[in-house]
Amino acid sequence: MTGSAPASPAAEEERHLIDRARRGDMAAFDQLVRRYERTVYNTAYRLCGSYDDASDMAQEAFVRAWNNLKSFRGDSAFSTWMHRIVTNVFLDDRKRRRSRPTRSLDEVIDLDESSVQRQFEDPTPGPSEKAEGDERRQILEKAILTLPEAQRAVIVLYHMQGLAYEEIAEITRLPMGTVKSRLNRARLALRDRLGALAELFDVYESPTA
């Protein structure tokens, strides 16, 4: 590999694990699963919003990875490849659910001001900062789940998995410009949906004077 930096020991070790797993070494794949279970599970969870569905999706992703290891050539990071698989598992699952009657997305979140009022009309002494933060987090989590799947995916990959635009472009097989504009639209959609509740979030000072 002319001109490229030598791989780190950790990267080399992972490459050996992948090579062994490709030859059918399940112990090697077991190490890969344990290395990536948290990140794959969290991606699945943030995409679908359900602990149980996330468990099924994440398991399906690893099984698919095992079945298709021979096609992984190392052009991208193994983590990138796993993110792509679990995202595809999620999108496949949504396609299947759309062909069956499902509960309305309106059930996922109720963002009208009256529902918010119920949360704050608590006769006990005012909520602690932690409780306010928890409620805000729950509102945000639910709002993310109301986004269209394609927007939700880029939000999860960027904000929750901390991936770069380039990685997201590789995972979604979209041009980077499309990833950026989709992420922008997703953020604006969240802001618009939460707009009525914006006052309940802290006012984040704009650096614009």
């Binding site: 077991d30 149980d52 901390g162």
Partner: protein, 323 residues
Amino acid sequence: MEEKAVDEKRWRELASEYIENALPAETAAAVRAYLETHPQARAEEAQLRGLMRDMNALPEVDPPLFFADNVMAAIQGQQERRRSWWQSLPGIGRTAVGTVLAGGALAAVAWTLLVPRGPSDPVQQADIRPRVPGAAVAPETAAGPARLGVTWSLRAVPDGEPALDVKLVLENADRGSARIALPGDTNLYRFMLQRGAAQTFVIPLSAARGAPTLEARIVWSADAATHTKQLFVPVPHTDAVPAARQSFGLRELPLPEAAREIAARYGQPVIVEDAPETATVAIVARDETAQATLSRNLEGMGLDVSAGAGGLVVSPKSLAVPR
């Protein structure tokens, strides 16, 4: 080149890049000028910054206990089924299959050589998915849709609390999952299911909390379909054995509650499968057995009532399996 003036539409297109300091200097200056003279847009910017900060701070969640073990168990099971299928073929069968595969491979090679193609995307092959999720390669013929067999037995524990051992066995599917909710228990019990392998969970008698039945609600999935089973198992007691034929009337109740009543009155377990839980029914028994009572009262609801080894099973007519 002078940046064109920013309006609301342009501000929204550039919002993320502005906040991430990714705009060229002139464009950023134009956006800043717009924000300085448009308070609503400035408020929107502040809210976007807050949202982005909050999203970055959303906590990670822990995967379930034994998640990695379950993954490897699923893969192990898949490998064993593939080996078992291959070994189950007689020698001539293996030769025949091998010949077909070899012939197919030759044909594939010839196709590749003869037919020009565009550049292949190796990463795309990660999208390869089995035709039936979780299905083994083995060409076994499915004996119908996936089913979850449920059996139970009452365990009397010396100096301990009696309990109901409930066993789940997945049939006609390679793998699935089950989530079990018990009344009054905030925990949700989760199991991974594999074909033919029993999973057991225990319901202590105290879970009845004075109610006449022990209950569990099982949501299980296999082959991309989700089903429900609700168990109503009468709590054993020392009173007289309930009469096999009874006469009574119940007000209109949701179907699960009606099933609970029947189980309690007749001392006979009832399972409700995939039936609409919001449906209501008024039960009237006219010197009838439990099965006859349920059959007659549920007749117009598209539900079938059958007698199984574990008790009565109420299910949609399309799911009814001859027993």
